[in-house]
């Protein structure tokens, strides 16, 4: 178990070095004068905090663009002028202490916050260049272009097969051959096919926790989404299952753009290409994962990733 853990860490570092090639010189030129306390205090006061975005991101193609996005739950503000670009085909992690708004931001991308009473937003988000929050957007269609995996696995009380093909059924697909094909493809993609192929018609609730989460991932990718949103997908799972999910994420990236919220910094450093650090609703620093963990620009970021608070 320990060796596996070490392997994962080394793999992660390997990935990071690929991504961060040739960008370090420019990063080193940013002054490190701003103290940790300043930025955090400013964020705590509710002031607009300028996001420290590493230049590495400028070269990436944007899958999702977030422009000056603010969100209010009733009278209290939860997100303060968040601006960032989610690179296509890469894994982006959102980290930060509890209550920093990372889940809120994630749920804003597929407009799941619309279901909450009293939510108000300003600013905009774009998916592949098209605005998400424009008044003429059909939310249902929008959500079909994205897949979401939740913290607690939530398979529907149906058979495994029906769970996986659910996104197609609600889209009106009825051809049995198409459904079968998509089912197999998705389950393979979620690394569940071998375990599930003999029990496709049994209830999905009979699977173990890790298997259920992989099923949810399979379900999320069945409709071929552009973006995959994951809200702390491993926090309810044991280490072995967690490891398998992380392997899965590794396989899926490239084909899908993945935005993952995580509490676990080691997981973020292992699995993601880019990491965004949020604090009390503001995006403090955002850059390549290796940079963020080894040479963050801001003291605040350094304080968090080294575990001094959070």
């Amino acid at each position: 178990m320990a060796t596996a853990h070490a392997n994962m860490l080394s793999n992660g570092r390997g990935m990071m070095s690929d991504a961060a090639t040739g960008k370090t010189s420019a990063d080193a030129a940013v002054p490190a004068s701003r103290s940790a306390a300043d930025s955090l205090a400013a964020a705590a006061r509710g002031e607009r905090v300028a996001t420290e975005t590493h230049l590495a991101l400028a070269a990436e193609e944007a899958a999702v663009e977030i422009d000056d996005f603010c969100l209010w739950y009733g009278a209290s503000q939860a997100l303060y002028d968040v601006s960032m670009v989610i690179p296509r085909g890469k894994v982006t992690a959102l980290i930060g202490p509890s209550g920093c708004g990372k889940s809120t931001l994630l749920r804003s991308v597929n407009r799941l916050n619309d279901l909450v009473e009293g939510v108000r937003i300003s600013g905009d988000m774009k998916l592949s260049g098209a605005s998400i929050y424009d008044s003429s957007i059909d939310v249902i269609e929008l959500r079909k272009r994205m897949g979401m995996v939740f913290q607690k696995p939530n398979p529907f009380p149906m058979s495994i097969y029906e769970n996986v093909v659910y996104p197609l059924r609600i889209d009106g697909e009825r051809d049995r051959r198409v459904l079968d094909e998509v089912c197999e493809r998705s389950l393979r993609g979620a690394a569940l096919w071998d375990e599930a192929k003999d029990r496709l018609t049994t209830s999905a609730l009979g699977l173990s926790g890790g298997q259920q989460q992989r099923l949810c991932i399979a379900r999320a990718i069945a409709a071929d989404p552009e973006v995959l949103l994951m809200d702390e997908p491993c926090s309810a799972l044991d280490p072995i299952a967690t490891g398998r999910i992380e392997d899965l994420i590794e396989e899926l990236k490239g084909e899908y753009t993945i935005l993952i919220v995580t509490h676990n910094m080691q997981q973020a450093s292992r699995t993601s290409d880019f990491t965004a650090f949020m604090y009390l609703g503001s995006l403090i620093e955002y850059g390549g994962t290796y940079e963020m963990f080894s040479r963050p620009h801001l003291k605040a970021t350094e304080a968090y990733v080294s575990g001094r608070f959070g």
Partner: protein
């Protein structure tokens, strides 16, 4: 803390067991009250009364006998033309104690100078009628009388008698009822003056009936002339004068096969029809309702088989059913039924309705009960049988110990004893408290007096004893089923749809108002609902029936049309108005109702010949309209299912834009309406008609009103439980579905509802339980008519309403009383089975979703 723990546990255990015990006790109690209904009747041993016969002459025969209701005295009329009074069964060894040997003659009455040539002893009447050789008739009244005497006024030797003892005192039968009171029973006779009926021809047969307006007397004389005299008495209460109008009519009896004079003449209870019967079975029925012109109504042959001749003919209690016994032991019951198609003079036809089978020997005696439709039949070999004529059941059978045939049988007024004559007086105890009740009589069609054919009927009691109780439970069970069906039909869809809408679509702030409001509906007392239904809704609905029928179609159509039109609005406006959807739906429904107001009269003119109630009566117009009510929902359902599936249909007008969806919707509607019309027209042309089964004559208080109002009562119950079941589905399931791009409706239908199925089913079952037991709404608004029709436009009577109405009036421990408890038991059992079945199904549903 431990103490409270175990206290709570024990308390709950006691409570749980207590509930089971209570319910079981109710069940046991009901069965205990009902069981005597089905107990077989008993006939005691036939034993001689004592030495009474020695007081009569050797060749003196008893022609008629009767016991009084206290069973202390018997009066008899003998062949020596005298009335005698004897001590009865209660003082002849049966009963607590008797000091004196029974049987001495207590008195006699000889009113006639010459022996009568004809007589009749009507069952319930206290007067006998006699005819004489000189053409006169006389009435004689025999009345039992009871005098109460204080102990102080009685002689000393009597004071030693114990309480309850009967003895002879001063020519009367005395009984000590308490320490200070004695009863003295006797029979008194009064003979009226003779009435000259014929001019000298002897009277051959005679009968009399007591009608509300006065007595009617009929007689046949030796010349074969039937005469009927009706006395109409009216008493002027101010002056005290009684005015008596006498009417007489006569007709000569000339049957097609003249065989001498008839042996019996029988006058119906209402005094409007008389039957003359010959021994060979031929009978002539004369209509005597209009005394100015008597007409022969019909001639019938009463004999059961050609080889036998009639031996005994007698009326049953109520004088409407005639019991005929012949020399081969056959016993049959005949009565009139209305028969307008037959060519009889009074539109009635005399029919053999019940066949009581063939006895062991010829029929020698017939004795009717004075209170029920039971008849005691004596046969030539000494057998005695007790029948209940209505149900055709043999209640009990006994044998005369001496094996001599019984020539007279008479049942005591309370049906607890009978007195008979076989050469000496014979008495038997009778134990038949519930002769009318048997499973067959309660559940199968029975041929009741005066009805054209056997049918199910519930008419349990009336103000007189001559009434034939009709205790058919099936109309009540049917009524309960009909009430439940129609109320579920209205209540379940509305409640379930409301619950789904509330839990899936409503905003929390609106939900917090709507849910309590609907739950408040449940607190409305059903009496108030019944009152509103009967006195407010029923008259209003009566005037707008076509509009209501139209509303069933226009409201959903307009709602869907508005939904489609709404899609055509710009997205910006729609998102802005998102929160107001609830209000907009309300506006759409109002528009739908308005459309119904307009479409209704048009529909009436087109399909229902301008007057829907006339159309419902079934005599005019085509059946298309009726069929349309069924085919339209069916075709809409079919087109939704088929249209949703057929890809070719999608390709017809592809695209997801509003206009295309609207056009698809309109096309679908048109197709389904056209299909429905076609099928309805086809069915109507094929000669099939819903009128008479599902639809029929419109009655103001009907199943539609009750169904709607009871639905109103049932909706809050189903709604609350269903909404709770739906809300308890974890939010992450919904979130998961929505995140995948499902609409809230798809989420509701595919995920939420199937998962909550067990809860929804429970909700429906609880609602069903309420509907089955609902009493007040039905009582006030359903008309309480025990009809056996599915017609949605007429009423019904349920088990629960029936019990509520009739239990206060049922005489304790009578057949009626126990039958009402049987109705309660039936309701109990029905609900029990329904609930058990529902619980089993619910557990199966729950297994599917248990892991959540």
């Amino acid at each position: 803390m431990r103490f409270f723990d175990s206290l709570a546990r024990n308390l709950i255990r006691v409570g749980g067991i207590g509930t089971i015990v209570a319910v079981s006790t109710v069940f046991v109690f009901l069965v205990w009250v009902v069981a005597p209904l089905f107990r077989s009747a008993g006939l005691g041993e036939l034993r001689p009364i004592g030495t009474a016969a020695t007081q009569l002459a050797a060749d003196e025969r008893v022609i008629a006998a009767s016991e009084d209701d206290t069973l202390t005295t018997v009066w008899a009329y003998t062949s020596s033309a005298r009335f005698v009074v004897l001590p009865g069964g209660a003082s002849s060894g049966r009963g607590a104690s008797s000091g004196q040997p029974g049987g001495e003659l207590l008195g006699e009455f000889r009113p006639f100078p010459t022996a009568p040539t004809a007589y009749a002893f009507p069952v319930r009447s206290t007067q006998a009628v006699f005819g004489f050789a000189d053409g006169t008739t006389r009435l004689v009244r025999a009345a039992a009388s009871t005098e109460y005497r204080n102990a102080a006024s009685m002689p000393r030797n009597v004071m030693q008698r114990s309480v309850g003892e009967t003895f002879i005192f001063e020519g009367r039968v005395a009984r000590r009822v308490s320490a200070d009171q004695f009863e003295l029973h006797t029979v008194q006779f009064v003979a009226d003056e003779p009435i000259q009926v014929s001019e000298g021809a002897a009277i051959v047969a005679v009968d009399a009936s007591e009608t509300p307006t006065g007595p009617v007397e009929a007689s046949v004389d030796a010349d074969g002339i039937l005469r009927v005299t009706r006395l109409t008495k009216s008493r002027n209460l101010l002056t005290g004068m009684e005015r008596v109008e006498t009417e007489t009519g006569q007709i000569a009896l000339r049957p097609s096969h003249s065989r001498g004079l008839p042996r019996w003449l029988l006058l119906h209870g209402g005094g409007n029809s008389a039957i003359a019967v010959w021994e060979d079975g031929r009978a002539v029925r004369v209509d005597v309702s209009d005394l100015e012109s008597l007409k022969v109504a019909e001639e019938v042959d009463l004999s059961a088989d050609a080889a036998a001749h009639l031996t005994q003919v007698a009326w049953l209690n109520g004088k409407n059913t005639l019991i005929v016994g012949d020399s081969n032991g056959n016993v049959k019951a005949w009565f009139r039924v209305p028969a307008p198609s037959m060519s009889t003079a009074d539109g009635m036809h005399f029919l053999p309705a019940h066949n009581l089978g063939r006895g062991p020997a010829s029929v020698t005696a017939l004795g009717s009960s004075a209170r029920t439709r039971s008849m005691a039949v004596g046969y030539g070999d000494g057998t005695l049988r007790l029948f209940n004529i209505t149900s055709g059941n043999l209640l009990a059978e006994g044998r005369n110990a001496s094996s001599r045939p019984l020539s007279i049988v008479s049942l005591a007024p309370n049906d607890d004893s009978l007195v008979a004559w076989d050469g000496e007086f014979v008495i038997a105890a009778v134990d038949a408290p519930h002769p009318e009740a048997s499973l067959g009589a309660l559940l199968r069609p029975v041929w009741y007096e005066g009805y054209r054919s056997p049918e199910h009927s519930w008419q349990s009691s009336s103000g007189t004893d001559e009434f034939e109780p009709k205790l058919g439970l099936w109309p009540l069970v049917f009524g309960t089923i009909k009430a439940t069906f129609y109320s579920m039909l209205f209540g379940v869809p509305i409640a379930l749809m409301a619950a789904i809408y509330t839990s899936e679509f409503l905003r929390p702030e609106v939900k917090s108002v709507v849910k309590p409001a609907i739950e408040l509906m449940a607190s409305l007392p059903s009496v108030v609902l019944g009152f509103l239904a009967a006195l407010v809704f029923a008259p209003v609905v009566e005037g707008i029936v076509p509009q209501i029928l139209a509303a069933l179609v226009t409201v959903p159509f307009v709602l869907l049309l508005c939904a489609h039109l709404w899609q055509l609005f710009p997205q910006g406006l729609r998102s802005g108005m998102q929160g107001r959807r609830f209000v907009l739906s309300g506006v759409a429904i109002v528009l739908g109702l308005g459309a119904a107001m307009v479409v209704g009269p048009l529909l009436e003119r087109w399909l229902f010949i301008g007057d829907v109630k006339l159309w419902l009566d079934g005599k005019a117009g085509e059946a298309t309209g009726g069929w349309l009510l069924l085919t339209l929902p069916a075709s809409v359902l079919a087109s939704v299912v088929i249209g949703g599936r057929a890809e070719r249909f999608e390709r017809l007008l592809p695209g997801a834009t509003g206009v295309q969806a609207l056009l698809r919707f309109l096309l679908l509607s048109l197709v389904s309406v056209a299909a429905a019309l076609l099928v309805a027209e086809g069915l109507s042309l094929a000669g099939l008609d819903l009128r008479g089964s599902l639809l029929g004559t419109y009655i103001q208080r009907n199943a539609l009103i009750v169904g709607f109002v009871m639905g109103f009562a049932v909706v809050p119950i189903i709604y609350t439980i269903a909404e709770d079941a739906l809300s308890s589905i974890p939010e992450n399931l919904r979130a998961g579905s929505l995140a995948l791009g499902a609409t809230p409706w798809q989420t509701a239908v595919r995920i939420v509802v199937p998962t909550a199925m067990s809860g929804l089913f429970s909700a429906i079952m609880v609602g069903l339980g309420r509907a089955v037991g609902e009493t007040m709404v039905v009582l006030m608004a359903a008309g309480n008519t025990p009809v056996l029709q599915w017609n949605v436009f007429n009423g019904f009577r349920t088990l629960s309403a029936n019990i509520a109405v009739e239990l206060p009036e049922a005489v304790r421990n009578s057949t009626h009383y126990r039958t009402l408890f049987l109705a309660a038991l039936t309701l109990f059992v029905m609900t029990f089975f329904l609930n058990t079945a529902a619980e089993l199904i619910r557990i199966r549903f729950r297994k599917r979703a248990y892991q959540l």
